[in-house]
Amino acid sequence: MTKSKETNVEALRDAIVTFDVDRIGSIAQQALKEGVSAYEAVMNGMAKGMETVGKRYQEGEVFLAELILAGETFKEGMKVLGSHLKNSDAWYRGSVVIGTVEGDLHDIGKHIVASLLQASGFEVYDLGVDVPFDRFLEKAKEVSADIVAMSAMLSTTFPNMRAVIEEIAKAQVHTWTLVGGAPLNADSVKSLGPDGYGKDAVEGVNICKQWVSKREQVH
């Protein structure tokens, strides 16, 4: 990569890390003008910036508000770069069906996770809130989802989460199940039986990345 292209990629990375939601669009356009491929701009620029923010979040240097803002900055950048990504570009990692289970109308956590998944190259199918248990499997089959992710704020929805996990296991589809949410802890998760539990949004997304990379290695 030429020095000029490197500078542009760095500028994209920095824009994410400094939450420059106002300028990232023009920085992305400049990068394309200078010959940086959209793939390079996303993978080595913005996605690296998101990784940095994610790491800082887990180390307690930045907080949820900054994580959200980084995700929004990423989305703004993708408005410019997304349409320039070619089908052959290996940006997309996999697909995730996400929703808040039936009986629960809270969506903040789900929204944050969905945003970070998109910023990490996942195709996200957001079913919304109060989702009946069979809808998760139905959608997962329809889109051949790699992962079904469920969020909950209310412990009263645990039976519904369990129902989703059991349905997916019975159907024998190649779909991992991930859960997250305020009332969950290691003990309650054991009784639900998902493949993974994210204690926060960043951990949840990292688990998803690990799963799909395992699948790529197997194939």
Binding site: L64, I108, T156
Partner: protein, 371 residues
């Protein structure tokens, strides 16, 4: 033979002295109270103020804890100004009045207000509309639940009105995405909205005080470090918490600040609000709320509410509950200035016998250390 009334024990603890028994102040809202009355939650929420008060009083009479929380005081004729759509397993309640909000109401669950119902463009205007003068609040019957509860049980239990906190309300109404962006891009808007909220809450508190509220429970829902940085807490949330606490204390009533989320990195600052008492959530969202450390920081200058686990422990069995209450009281409940509270609202999956067990254990182990 107990000399003090249950309410006296609450007041004694809030005044940082040691009561005859550790008082118990569980978070009982309409969700659990409706269960005791064998009614659906939606029936109560959509019902009259008289029904709301009666349900809270029935729960109190069932358990005889030391306080009664009062919430959701809509205007007397509020049903005339809403349209209610039946969506099957829930209702959509739309307010025709621009100053009120639309919410969803599961048929057996509590109201869910949409997060992010205002935009950067209309937020200030909406918040202005929501400021109602104290006299109008009283005239419209918005404090009837408080009045009825005070009349019927005010001699026995501390009538405590629940109010929001400015910063948390602003973040809730803007939504986390818009709110996070505004903290960085439009800080003046955030401050302006907090100012407007503060004005609204002060008017509401004045009316509630006149109606009979004897204490205030201020809920700060989005200011913990699981959401915002310590810097943003200090800049945006703390000044308004302080102002609100001072304003409510000027009404002559103690203020309990219920701080949701992670308080630990900012506990020294939270203490600077100078609330009369502090309450926190139970350990969840991977947050370890260290009450022993919090007690050290408060240094005997404020009352501490125990955050008994309403989610995982109160759903177990009386034996385990008794043991956990005993541990909590032995660790931080001796010497006065302590109230056994729950970290979050009691849900409808909790058996009443478990609540009884929690209260009985507090009364058994919560005697003065000299006894």
């Amino acid at each position: 033979m107990l000399k003090n009334h249950p309410k006296d024990d609450m007041i004694t603890a809030l005044n940082l002295r040691e009561p005859e028994r550790v008082p118990v102040a569980p978070y009982v809202d309409y969700t659990y109270a409706s269960k005791i009355s064998r009614r659906k939650v939606s029936e109560v929420i959509l019902g009259s103020n008289e029904l709301k008060a009666s349900v809270l009083l029935q729960a109190y009479e069932r358990h005889h804890y030391n306080w009664i929380m009062v919430f959701d005081n809509p205007p007397r004729d509020w049903r005339q100004n809403v349209t209610i759509k039946d969506l099957g397993d829930k209702y959509e309640v739309q307010n025709k009045d621009a100053g009120e909000r639309t919410f969803l109401l599961p048929k057996d669950g509590t109201s869910i207000y949409p997060v992010g119902d205002v935009t950067v463009e209309n937020a200030a205007e909406r918040f202005e509309l929501e400021i109602v003068d104290r006299d109008d609040i009283l005239r419209e019957g918005r404090c009837e639940v408080t009045k009825i509860v005070k009349m019927r049980a005010g001699s026995e239990a501390l009538v405590t009105a629940v109010v929001g906190a400015p910063f948390g309300e602003v973040l809730l109404r803007l939504g986390l995405t818009q709110g996070a962006t505004c903290l960085y891009r439009k800080p003046d808007l955030v401050r302006n909205l907090c100012d407007l909220c503060l004005r609204r809450y002060i008017e509401e508190a004045a009316a509630l005080s006149e109606a009979g509220a004897e204490a205030f429970w201020v809920e700060e829902v989005f200011a913990g470090t699981d959401t915002i940085s310590p810097k943003h807490y200090e800049e945006f949330a703390l000044p308004y918490e302080r102002s609100q606490v001072q304003a409510l204390q000027r009404l002559g009533k103690p203020v309990i600040l219920y701080f949701c989320g992670n308080p630990m990195p900012i506990i020294q600052n939270i203490a600077k609000t100078h609330a009369d008492a502090f309450a926190f959530e139970e350990n969840k969202k991977n947050i370890d709320v260290d009450l022993e450390r919090i007690k050290d920081v408060l240094n005997g200058e404020a009352c501490l509410f125990g955050n008994f686990d309403a989610i995982n422990t109160l759903t177990t069995n009386p034996g385990e509950i008794e043991e956990k209450v005993k541990q909590m009281i032995l660790k931080i409940g001796r010497g006065g200035g302590f109230v056994l509270g729950t970290g979050s609202p009691i849900t409808k999956t909790v058996q009443p016998e478990n609540v009884d067990a929690m209260i009985a254990a507090a009364r058994k182990y919560g005697r003065p250390s000299s006894a």
